[in-house]
């Protein structure tokens, strides 16, 4: 195997290397890649879309169709993990661990045994049990709201600073995953359960595709935000800016939900009862 691997990578490396003598130098401002289409974006982004962050303008307006499919890619990854891993089980077929809060005694309920489900005195703990760590729990509880706030800031300020839907969505998802890691997976389920996450991801992408469809129904091409001008009571350029914001919100929602859904499925291997 090793020799086959070495031969293959040498061939591939040679093939990639073959073209490099004709490459432009790194950082050359006159390289062909920076001459044809990019100057148009840089010079006209603000006057076309009123968005100073050129990357966001190109991402969500000029090449907005790519971004919609990118959101569909992340959506399909979430659905694929659900499809592959999810085990819908009625009865529990594994042993479960419960801890009595007052005395600290741990109960082990065997397969099919009666479970003290709703009792306030018993707390379900994971099989790979770690000791109760107050520092982590309290610190996470303090940090999570600020992370979420920052995520919303990143989404909303995508127009003026580096950011946008994907970045903010991932940060938001990371906040929820932090909550799930520091506490139990089941507590995270109580905050955002599986159906809500799936619904949010579908609604997020639907927001993006729906905006595009709305533009189509209003007479323009798909994703031509300038046609939203009458609906939003502004001129065509500001309509593009608002259209970009709407789709960024849709993207952020979808990415957040998919990150959380991926975490739920991967960490509990589809069973959704015990996690990391």
């Amino acid at each position: 195997m090793r020799s086959l691997a070495l031969i293959t990578i040498l061939l591939v490396g040679g093939l990639l290397f073959y073209g490099t003598p004709d490459f432009p130098a790194w950082g050359d401002p006159e390289s062909p890649a920076s001459l044809h289409v990019s100057p148009y974006y840089i010079e006209h982004a603000v006057e076309d879309t009123a968005v100073p962050n050129i990357v966001t303008a190109v991402l969500a307006d000029y090449r907005g169709y790519d971004t919609m499919f990118e959101t569909a890619v992340i959506f399909s990854a979430g659905i694929a993990c659900l499809f592959l891993l999810r085990i819908y089980r009625r009865k529990s077929t594994t042993t479960r661990l419960y801890r009595h809060n007052l005395t600290g005694i741990t109960l082990r309920i065997a397969k099919g045994g009666k479970l003290p489900e709703g009792s306030a005195e018993f707390e379900r703990i994971d099989s790979l049990w770690v000791p109760y760590d107050m520092i982590i729990k309290v610190t996470s509880r303090l940090v999570v709201p600020f992370v979420q706030l920052f995520a919303l800031y990143v989404i909303a300020h995508g127009h003026h600073s580096p950011g946008g839907g994907f970045q903010g969505g991932v940060i938001f998802g990371a906040a929820i995953i932090l909550y799930a890691i520091s506490n139990d997976l089941r507590r995270a389920f109580r905050r955002l359960n599986e159906k809500a996450a799936l619904l949010a991801s579908a609604v997020g992408v639907l927001l993006y595709a729906g905006t595009g469809l709305l533009c189509l129904l209003l007479g323009g091409n798909f994703l031509d935000y300038s046609k939203l001008a009458d609906l939003l009571h502004t001129d065509a350029i500001m309509a593009r800016s608002h259209g970009i914001l709407i789709v960024e919100i849709g993207v952020g929602l979808a990415v957040m939900a998919v990150m959380v859904s991926l975490y739920y499925n991967l960490s509990s291997a589809g069973r959704h009862d015990e996690g990391l």
């Binding site: 004709d22 390289s31 001459l35 044809h36 790519d66 399909s76 659900l82 499809f83 729906g210 798909f222």
Partner: protein, 497 residues
């Protein structure tokens, strides 16, 4: 509204995917009707687009209102429209035919299954109509991801085969992306028409040559061209039956379409055929692919695995036919894309019906099936005859064009390989016909140890679908001449003789 057809043909499945998931969260039984409606809408739009292209010529659609090369443009000409109709037809027919199978296999996850199904179709249709090289990569990845998930969901060796498929497929897609990056590096644009305008001035450059080779290698990996076909037999034969009959006809054919599009329209024929001078090696590789695929099909006694090796050989037909470089060969390759899609659908669908009723994948377990499942076996016979290349089924006509092209180009080795492959397909299929017809049917144990006694005909829906595909095979054969003269002739650039 008809001006928006190029966009609608993808937006309908895409929006439907999200609605299906939301609907399935409410009630599981909503998934199938919504999918059927969306795919029907997509099929009608595709047919409308083909009619429009036949009437008015090339259709362009500027997404987000920006003209290329600033924005993304869709460009539908005769080649696109034909392949698009083929993809939409296969998707819809397969959906209707595998309904019962899917309910049996994936009942608790119908919503996610149909969502992934329709996202796969949206991705494939997008690949066919797009005119932007990077947009093609994104759509390629949607189709690939959903394909990986659908293929991996079965017991047995499916997850491992799918994981190997992911590794090889990702390398292929990354190589394609790298090739597009090289092209962007020296031209500054991503739009295919714009690239075709800018590249000829740069042709001796090593970057363009290596971009060509890298793109070609990446596409050959994704289409399962020998010797990069190793993922194909495992992934497609271990996949669940309703998924095999969807991905086997479509994914490799769409990749071959991408290769044709890149070679004919981005790297113009003058570069691809004349300057690069790899036509000969490609035809030789195709000969090896055909021969190897046919012999490997002979070596196995499992039905689905045999069919996947036949796919490897068919990919060899199309790639070899294209690289012959003359009008007959390229017409044969394009016609074979459409024909092979329907033929593979037909044969995999009947194989799915057979396996679901008999309970095992082995050819030796198919004894006496002609009496028990006459309609299914009848359709299987028609599909087998088409793969062998018997008139008036469609397989004969595309083989005819390919052989004529081989003779015109002087590639007698390719012609010999085609004839040899037809002979081997004859042996393969008549072996099955003999077991199914002449051997007496007796109650025997299926592969999973359960006692299979009352093997009856496939469910009615599936029978109707099978008969429809068989009729399509004949119809494509009868109208093959029309298809070539009206559509394919206009699809090939004028300079090729």
């Amino acid at each position: 509204m008809s001006a928006h057809f190029p966009g609608l043909v993808i937006i309908i499945p895409l929006v439907a995917a999200f609605l299906i998931l939301i609907g399935a969260l409410l009630d599981r039984r909503l998934a199938f009707p919504l999918t059927a409606l969306a795919l029907l809408g997509s099929l009608l739009t595709a047919i409308g687009l083909l009619v429009k292209v036949l009437q008015t010529g090339v259709v362009e659609y500027h997404l987000a209102g920006w003209a290329p090369p600033v924005g993304i443009a869709y460009r539908v000409d005769h080649l696109n429209a034909l392949v698009l109709v083929a993809v939409a037809t296969v998707a819809f027919v397969n959906l209707m035919g595998t309904r019962e199978l899917v309910k049996g296999l994936f009942d608790d996850r119908l919503g996610p299954f149909y969502t992934l199904y329709i996202l796969l179709i949206a991705g494939l249709q997008g690949i066919v109509v797009t005119g932007d090289a990077f947009n093609l990569y994104v759509l390629l990845e949607i189709a690939a991801l959903t394909g990986y998930a659908l293929v991996g969901m079965s017991e047995g060796r499916a997850p491992l085969s799918s994981l190997n498929y992911i590794f090889i497929g990702t390398v292929g897609a990354s190589l394609y992306l790298l090739g597009v990056g090289y092209l962007y590096l020296v031209t500054g644009t991503l739009n295919m028409a714009d690239l075709a305008v800018r590249l000829p001035a740069l042709y001796p450059s090593k970057v363009v040559v290596s971009a060509f080779v890298i793109c070609l290698v990446g596409l050959c990996i994704k289409m399962g061209f020998f010797p990069m076909h190793a993922w194909l037999p495992n992934a497609y034969s271990h996949a669940p039956d309703p998924v095999s009959s969807l991905v086997a006809p479509l994914v490799t054919k769409v990749m071959i379409y991408v290769m044709i599009r890149m070679m004919l329209f981005v790297f113009t024929p003058a570069f691809a055929f004349d300057q690069m001078a790899i036509s000969e090696p490609m035809v030789w590789l195709a000969i090896v692919a055909i021969v190897a695929g046919s012999f490997m099909a002979l070596s196995t006694r499992r039905l689905k695995r045999m069919l996947t090796y036949i796919i490897v050989a068919e990919v060899g037909y199309m790639v070899g036919g294209f690289w012959l470089g003359n009008r007959l060969g390229i017409s044969g390759a394009i016609l074979h894309i459409v024909n092979d899609a329907i033929m593979t659908l037909c044969v995999f669908l009947s194989a799915a019906a057979i396996i679901s009723k008999v309970g095992s994948d082995a050819i030796d377990d198919m004894q006496g099936l002609f009496k028990k499942m006459p309609v299914t076996m009848g359709v299987f016979v028609v599909a087998g005859l088409s793969i062998i290349g018997v008139p008036p089924t469609c397989g004969f006509f595309s083989k005819w064009y390919l052989i004529s092209g081989a003779v015109a180009a002087g590639q007698y080795g390719f012609m010999a390989a085609l004839l040899l492959s037809s002979l081997i397909n004859l042996v393969l299929f008549f072996r099955i016909f003999e077991i199914a017809y002449f051997e007496p049917f007796h109650d025997h144990h299926g592969d999973h140890g359960h006692f299979v006694s009352a093997v009856q005909e496939a469910p009615f829906e599936m029978l109707v679908t099978l008969v429809v595909t068989a009729v399509l095979l004949f119809a494509l054969g009868i109208y093959a001449g029309d298809i070539v003269s009206q559509i394919i002739d206009h699809a090939i650039p004028v300079g090729i003789t």
